[in-house]
């Protein structure tokens, strides 16, 4: 079987720093995979390469057989890749609903008019933001802004969803609810690549995980196994391995 999403030999250099070194991995349709690794190991950089923030120095990225590498960010979005950012990024001069409409109007399979409004409200209620469509973005608190970002990402029903520490900054109780939300996206069949430092979330959401260290992939497999890998524990988990 050919994977729906496939990365081969992906590399990125920043000046003298090799942030990503020849990384390969595949995602199957509907799979939720955790991308783990110490701070600065290149996870966000991989996300940025996939979504086209900057071009790679080498390697290929394929979604459903089509090459994404080399395409500009907006083309990649139209191919069906959506993402959230490690620090929330929204358009503050647009209302909450307009933020979602933005990706609906321009992203993959654009819709417009009534249909777009309906889909936007649907996405907002999906993430638990019914009725706040007309609110201004700066009036929302941080977690609600994260929700808007998620709604914007999922409204277009992307083929691949990239979540960069979407769950960070929540207390354990809030985390539960958020995990449930991402879980429901998974249950709807979304393919998700999830960067996260919260092991609880990774264990709950990702049957499989990939671990990076210093730009290299050091482990890839069932999450439980990966998290017991000696190198992963040393580089990344430390004492948290037993938690």
């Amino acid at each position: 079987m050919r994977a729906m999403f496939e990365i081969r030999g992906l590399s990125k250099r920043f000046g003298g720093l090799q942030a990503v070194k020849a990384v390969d991995f595949d995602l199957a349709e509907g799979e939720v995979v955790g991308l783990l690794g110490p701070n600065g190991s290149g996870k966000t950089t991989v996300m940025n390469l996939i979504s086209g923030v900057f071009p790679a120095n080498g390697g290929s990225i394929r979604l459903g057989g089509r090459r994404l590498d080399g395409l500009p960010a907006h083309r990649i979005a139209k191919e069906g890749v959506s993402r959230t950012f490690q620090l929330v990024r929204l358009a503050p001069s647009l209302s909450v609903r307009q933020n979602v409409l933005l990706s609906l109007s321009f992203g993959a399979r654009p819709v417009s008019g009534r249909e777009a409004e309906r889909r936007a409200d649907e996405a907002l209620s999906r993430v638990g933001l019914e009725g706040v469509g007309d609110a201004r973005v700066p009036d929302l608190n941080y977690i609600d802004q994260k929700r808007v970002e998620l709604a914007r990402a999922v409204a277009t029903r992307p083929r691949l969803l990239l979540l960069d520490e979407w769950l960070a900054g929540l207390n354990p109780t809030e985390l539960r609810a958020a995990i449930a939300l991402v879980g429901s996206l998974r249950d709807d069949g979304a393919t998700i690549l999830l960067v996260e430092h919260i092991m609880e979330a990774v264990r709950a959401l990702c049957p499989r995980s990939i671990v990076m260290r210093a730009g290299e992939k050091i482990a890839d497999g069932p999450t439980a196994e990966v998290l017991n890998d000696r190198r992963v524990v040393e580089a990344y988990l430390g004492g948290a391995a037993h938690v």
Binding site: G37, P38, N39, G169, N171, Y236
Partner: protein
């Protein structure tokens, strides 16, 4: 040693912090618990920015009334803040950031000893002294922020979610480091979503809800409190 009385913070019409009072003892660590949007960050901002507070509140540090002190003078008085979003000088190098941490007069003399201590706490920074902070990963930047605050030789360290985005092993290291910082005589007021770790570090805690203090107690009491457990520990 540090006490705040009747602090309120308002953003436009929205009252984010409503008449909050708290104190922190010498070499004591105090945790603030609260849900998203409860006003934890607003509390830390309210303590450090005179312009943001509503009138009427009083803040005293080591016997001195600092209610009207400019925010930049607070560092000189020994209060260092690591804000939400880190507040590092992203365009400057790690080294510059640390040097800037030692900008207050009280920290200048002992700057080199401090630097050695801080690099001991965060060995990773030692290897990256010449790197521009903005090009570091989120977790690395968080370390720079805490390290920079420590450079100012604070007597009170205010931390707003220091473990946000850190790898598990670093979170452990960071809390280990904070234990050492506390034990060296620095008072800490910490806002942290990682409730378990922060209550392990702190002796006491306050619970904040919708801008008001709704509970307080020793760490043990808080952990045992079923309401706290349900709201913040996920039980």
């Amino acid at each position: 040693m540090f006490e705040a009385r009747s602090i309120s913070v308002r953003y436009g019409k929205h009252l984010a912090l409503d008449d909050v009072s708290l104190e922190v003892g010498t070499s004591e660590c105090v945790a603030i618990l609260g849900a998203n949007g409860a006003g934890k960050s607003s509390l830390l901002r309210g303590l450090t920015q005179a312009g943001l507070r509503e009138r009427g509140g009083v803040i005293r540090h080591r016997g001195e009334d600092i209610s009207a002190t400019n925010d930049f003078d607070l560092v000189e008085k020994g209060i260092a803040l690591v804000p939400e979003g880190r507040g590092v000088f992203a365009e400057l190098t790690v080294d510059d950031n640390l040097s800037l941490g030692a900008h207050p007069k009280r920290a200048r003399e002992s700057a080199s000893e401090r630097r050695a201590e801080v690099l001991d706490l965060f060995p990773k920074l030692g290897q990256r002294l010449a790197q521009t902070v903005g090009t570091m990963s989120g977790g690395e930047q968080q370390m720079v922020a805490v390290a920079r605050a420590l450079m100012s030789r604070p007597t009170l360290l205010l931390l707003d979610e220091p473990s946000l985005g850190l790898a598990p092993i670093v979170v452990d290291e960071m809390f280990a480091a904070l234990h050492k910082v506390r034990d060296s005589g620095v008072s800490i007021l910490i806002v942290e979503q990682n409730v378990r770790a922060s209550l392990a570090l702190a002796a006491r805690g306050y619970v904040l809800e919708a801008g008001r203090i709704v509970g307080r107690g020793s760490s043990a009491e808080l952990v045992a409190d079923p309401m706290v457990a349900k709201a913040f520990l996920g039980h």
